[in-house]
Subunit: 340 residues, 2 copies
């Protein structure tokens, strides 16, 4: 931790105040957790502290020294099997290092994530693994400013410098594009996730960058985004159907999205008509092998991401360096040809 | 809390020592958390303390007073959608009461559950919602003895007097038996869960009690139990197949069990032959509607159980009484007749 801490100590409370454009007293009040500050100055000071890697003296530092042997794991959606699998593997790995893991579920809601960041702060965890929603909130800035060892899981947030362990989305989407071309699909409905979530943005960008050279239609009427949850994805699928642009395949950008899309197809078109549309997904769910036709999918290695994340945060706690890692995907081809 | 506490205070440390059959000094050392005690006397003292409802003075009591506005939720298997759905609903309800929820996952492992009970004790939660594995461990006895408000979710443990919010298993299994009779099944393979888990025992008992009067074979070669996880259930299904006793339907006693059973059927018999066997399940999973043939299921109201559990523990925290509740099930009939 030595060299890292020396580097971080170089930012003083004066630097933070200057960067935030507030008086020294204001910065001090914000960083000591006083409520006698406006929301605006709080946000500015905490953001500045985060950018400068400022670590408060006193309580926050003391907190870091009082080891609890507990890691916090804040996932985006515990009902998404990707995250429950990841959480399970993270726990097993944490136990190997002498830690227990407390889980919290943001349910793809940035406010709820903030509430849990606050809970974890008061519960004194040794390190945090976080699959974030979107932008830097004051609460996240405060977490970073407190010096709590932090790694991101599968998602990043611009402006926060923490190691990220996650899926190689460009590779995964590339595998989908190759499969779509092999299967001869030109008209493909793309149901993505929010562009504010890095995985949503990365998968969409990789798809847009590659679709033309894979012979896929660039009709924007085939592009839609949900909220990475099943109900939102069903609505997005219905918006594509409403436009009447024909398609022969659907690409769902995560597991719950594919579930929602399949449900919408069956409800709108009936089971037989829906079965004529091939579905491909990022995230391989338990039931894809049982679907008719079976659903081909990019398998994200959720377990490996969970294990690497734990090793990363354990390294940070021990004062070692940790550098993030993209974990390769595999493609599970369940199309008729592949079965022959 | 007044009347409850008076009642609990009636047990003194002398009562605990007498019941445990140890010296007063030993009981005192155990209850003050000293490590200078044998595992045997620790277990006996903590069990006696739990049975008598003894609440230690001092640290434990102080702990109870320092409100953290955090509830602990220890589930059996976070990858089981029943529990991830329950956890999600519990969080929403807890937020309505001003609490956040920290989740922990025992992965159907009593030792892991104990490790988390210890973590929650040191993390100072205001109350605990717990879906337990099996028997009273010293760690659970200590949790009870500490006076931490506690409710059970869907499962009970004999010897611990805490309100339980859970599924009406007798009703659910009755719905399955009625359906099996309506569908004309006589030879039914039953893949249950561990008898050490109350839901496993209750579902098996209800099935055994009702099968004969529903015209179902009493051949014991059709009865098997896994571990309520998919891989263990697949092995249990294979043991039934190994015996060569013919059957026309399979009843899986929870969601992961049904997943494992279906997987084993398809692997052993092939997709077409497996599709001739009707499957029915406790727990209704996302993909049952997509299976071929679709899988009929008992829907447990996981969300309602989570909400009731939170209300129960909030009542206990406020010193009010809480009495457990069995939550009714609904049956989702996806058989061909039902669709007409």
């Amino acid at each position: 931790m030595e060299s890292e801490e020396v580097e971080q100590r170089m930012a003083t409370i004066k630097d933070v105040a200057a960067r935030a454009g507030v008086a020294l007293g204001t910065a001090s009040r914000v960083l000591s957790g006083s409520s006698q500050t406006s929301a605006d100055s709080r946000a500015r000071v905490l953001a500045a502290a985060a950018e400068l890697g400022y670590i408060a003296n006193g309580p926050a530092r003391a907190l870091r020294r009082a080891r609890t042997d507990v890691l916090g794991l804040l996932v985006s959606d515990i009902r998404n099997p990707f995250f429950s699998e990841l959480a399970h593997a993270a726990e097993q790995e944490a136990r190997r290092h002498g830690y227990t893991v407390l889980l919290a579920n943001a349910n793809e809601d940035a406010d709820q994530a903030d509430a849990y960041l606050q809970t974890f702060a008061s519960q004194r965890i040794d390190g945090l693994l976080f699959a974030p929603q979107s932008t830097v909130s004051p609460q996240l800035a405060a977490t970073v400013a407190s010096g709590l060892p932090l790694v991101f899981l599968n998602r990043t947030i611009e402006g926060i410098d923490a190691p990220m362990y996650g899926t190689d989305n460009a590779q995964g989407v590339g595998q989908v594009l190759d499969w779509l071309r092999r299967r001869g699909h030109r008209d493909v409905a793309f149901i993505g996730g929010p562009d504010t979530i890095s995985t949503g943005a990365e998968r969409r960008a990789a798809y847009l960058a590659g679709r033309e050279q894979h012979g896929i239609s660039t009709d924007e009427g085939l592009m839609e985004a949900g909220d990475f949850l099943a109900d939102g994805a069903a609505k997005a699928m219905n918006r594509v159907l409403d436009r009447g642009v024909p398609f022969t395949a659907v690409f769902g950008a995560n597991g719950p999205t594919t579930l929602g899309a399949v449900r919408a197809l069956r409800e709108r078109l009936g089971v037989e008509q829906a079965a004529r549309i091939e579905v491909v997904s990022v995230d391989d769910l338990d039931w894809f092998e049982f679907a008719s036709p079976p659903i081909s999918a990019v398998r994200q290695d959720a377990a490996e991401i969970g294990r690497l994340g734990v090793r990363g945060v354990v390294d940070l706690i021990a004062g070692r360096e940790a550098s993030g890692q993209r974990v390769p995907t595999t493609f599970v081809d369940r199309s008729p040809q592949a079965q022959q």
